[in-house]
């Protein structure tokens, strides 16, 4: 009943307060995006550059060329595998972290989440050094006599997925922990007191309650993996292109900006579509339980 703000009757103050944000976001977010959308509709020729002809030619080219389809498929594959790996590793780890006691939990939270503060380039470089033909992994394998010559790990989808999982793992852990910390700590005890074993409690009580966090984390990880640039660029290189690195090449090497813009727009649409779609589905599902 406490209507705290009744006495603020000046109607224009919120608009005044929001004005700088509105100006910045219209001028430097919506305008550039719109301009890119228009660019994606423009024609391009190698000799005259961008032309003032507007059509869907770039999109038609993308959809009709098998080369692009392969790259889209690879991007999706990498994003899905990364998401799955992040769930398989991140969700149990979040639960383990949550169960830790005072000094350990703080310490390992730093270990698990701290990498977020380190540049993606540095973290990916670490994987490049590990995966290289004379990197630590190959040297260990050879020293153990498991392989005779270095295994090709760099420039493989496997390597990209591993490195991306490492880069994006903290987001999954954060999401799951946010959900876990909202849980009533008595609930596990309630289940145990009703005679359920530890494993049954985990399966019937804990995991179902982690699902919203896992879903939220998956959406973030998938979206970021699908549009990741630095990691695929370093680990995958020119040989293993994904949409983001393809866009980069179109813009900075082929200089076919309209095609690059069309690719970027498609990536944007796909990411937003998946994110919003999953969110809506998840919300509809969980609304039944949590409302």
């Amino acid at each position: 009943m406490s209507d705290t703000l009744d006495f603020r009757r000046i109607p224009w103050s919120p608009f005044l307060l929001a004005l700088p944000a509105v100006v910045v976001f219209f001028g430097f977010l919506l305008a550039p995006l719109l301009s890119t959308a228009i660019l994606s509709l423009q024609a391009f020729s190698l000799y005259t550059g961008i032309q003032n002809v507007y059509n869907l030619a770039n999109y038609i080219e993308i959809f009709s060329d098998n080369y692009f389809f392969e790259i889209f498929a690879r991007t999706a594959r990498i994003a899905v595998l990364t998401t799955v790996l992040a769930i398989v590793v991140g969700a149990p780890e979040a639960y383990i972290l949550m169960r830790m006691r005072a000094p350990w939990r703080g310490l390992f939270l730093l270990v698990a989440l701290g990498p977020l503060l380190i540049s993606v380039v540095s973290r990916t470089l670490g994987w490049a050094l590990l995966f290289g033909s004379n990197g630590l992994i190959n040297e260990t394998l050879m020293a153990l006599g498991l392989v005779e010559s270095p295994v090709a790990l760099m420039y493989t989808e496997f390597a990209v997925v591993i490195a991306l999982t490492h880069v994006l793992m903290p987001f999954m852990i954060i999401s799951v922990m946010v959900t876990l910390q909202r849980l009533n700590p008595q609930i596990e005890n309630a289940s145990l007191s009703l005679g359920a074993s530890g494993f049954t409690t985990l399966r019937r009580v804990v995991i179902p309650q982690m699902v919203p966090g896992i879903l939220a984390g998956s959406i973030i990880v998938f979206a970021m993996a699908a549009s990741a640039f630095a990691t695929p660029q370093i680990i995958g290189g020119r040989r293993l292109k994904v949409i983001a690195t393809l866009v980069y090449d179109e813009f900075l090497y082929s200089l076919n900006w309209p095609l690059g813009a069309a690719l970027a727009m498609l990536l944007f649409a796909a990411v937003i579509g998946v994110t919003v779609g999953c969110n809506a589905l998840a919300e509809r599902y969980f609304a039944r339980i949590y409302r």
Partner: protein
């Protein structure tokens, strides 16, 4: 009955609420409330949650705008005065202490925004903290204080600006039982020392009775009864008041005259009663502590008995429904559960409300 009417009408009005109404859309929270508050008195707005007492207080404080009606303080129109210019002190349910300021800084805040000189400010802060018994806690931060101490700081902060009225919004509801009783005594003492007109909002009838000069019992946005605590308790004017203030037994009965003597008949038992009562069926209320176990009277069976330290509370099943009886603990335990007993009462302790069912 006549005394309670007199109490509401006499005395010079200090704060006047006239037909004060608050609606949120279709819902009327406060329904044309009219009330006079006298200078220096301690008035409680008492009622269950949702009765409009907090909204009333917030309208006085200026945090909720009335839909219609008037609030006048010594003939000054308050409705059109912003809260910061009303000069009322308020203690909030959550205390609302500024967490980044020490107790002394909290108390000094109202003086500083009034540009009171430094020396005077310090002196008044010290006096206010001393008044609430926190003279030594000035440089403590709220986080490091107990609930009761925070409560005192909030009180000192509200009082130091010498408010024309002190508004207390359920100030004791966040304290545990023993601390609450201690603070009730403190609050009453401080109010009597300062003489500040005080309006307390509470849903706790014991708190209202312990603290107030007058109690306003509210229900569904309207005043149910106004009076001194003992008047409201002893002479409830409605079922609701009788039931809300303490436990009460409601029984159907009738009044008749036998040999020129008025008596009240409950089942086949009759008791002499107030001669002013009109004859006919009535609904009566009688407090549990006014009922006695006796060798004759209304028959019943002990259904349950609860030991409450100084008291025994008995539930007696009778043909008039379950009747509560409170007995002082005098050493001998009351009859066991299941045993038969009789209830006696004094007809003059009975209140009646219109016709019985």
């Amino acid at each position: 009955m006549t005394r309670s009417n007199a109490a509401t009408n006499t005395g010079h009005a200090y704060l006047e609420l006239a037909s004060l109404t608050k609606r949120y859309g279709q819902i009327t929270v406060v329904d044309s409330l009219t009330l006079d508050v006298r200078k220096g008195e301690f008035l409680s707005l008492l009622g269950p949650s949702g009765c409009g007492k907090t909204t009333t207080l917030q309208m006085i404080g200026g945090f909720v705008e009335p839909t219609s009606g008037n609030i006048r303080l010594q003939d000054r129109d308050l409705v059109r005065t912003p809260p910061s210019k009303r000069g009322l002190g308020m203690v909030f349910q959550s205390y609302a202490l500024f967490p980044h300021m020490t107790a002394a800084q909290n108390v000094a805040y109202g003086l500083e925004v009034r540009r009171v000189g430094r020396a005077e400010c310090e002196e008044r802060v010290a006096r206010a903290l001393d008044l609430v018994g926190l003279a030594k806690f000035g440089d403590r931060y709220p986080r490091r204080m107990s609930g009761g101490q925070q409560q005192r700081v909030a009180l000192a902060r509200a009082l130091v600006i010498e408010p024309s009225i002190l508004l207390l919004d359920e100030p004791l509801s966040n304290l545990d039982a023993s601390l609450r009783e201690e603070m009730q005594v403190e609050l009453r003492r401080i109010q009597q020392v300062t003489g500040t007109t005080t309006i307390l909002v509470t849903h706790d009838q014991n708190e209202a009775m312990a603290l107030s000069d007058r109690i306003v019992v509210m229900r569904a946005g309207q005043v149910e009864q106004i009076g001194r605590p003992e008047q409201v308790y002893e002479h409830p004017q409605t079922d609701f008041v009788a039931q809300f203030l303490g436990k009460t037994n409601l029984v159907s009965a009738s009044v008749r005259t036998v040999n020129g003597v008025k008596e009240i008949v409950i089942g086949d038992q009759s008791f002499a009663c107030d001669t002013a009562l009109p004859e006919g069926p009535v609904r009566i209320a009688i407090r549990p502590e006014k009922m006695r176990l006796a060798s004759s009277g209304i028959p019943g069976i002990v259904k349950n008995r609860v030991f409450q330290g100084t008291l025994w509370l008995l539930e007696i099943t009778s043909e008039h429904g379950t009747i509560l009886v409170q007995q002082p603990n005098v050493g001998t335990p009351p009859p066991r559960i299941g045993s038969a007993c009789h209830l006696d009462l004094d007809g003059r302790d009975i209140h009646t409300f219109g016709t019985g069912v």
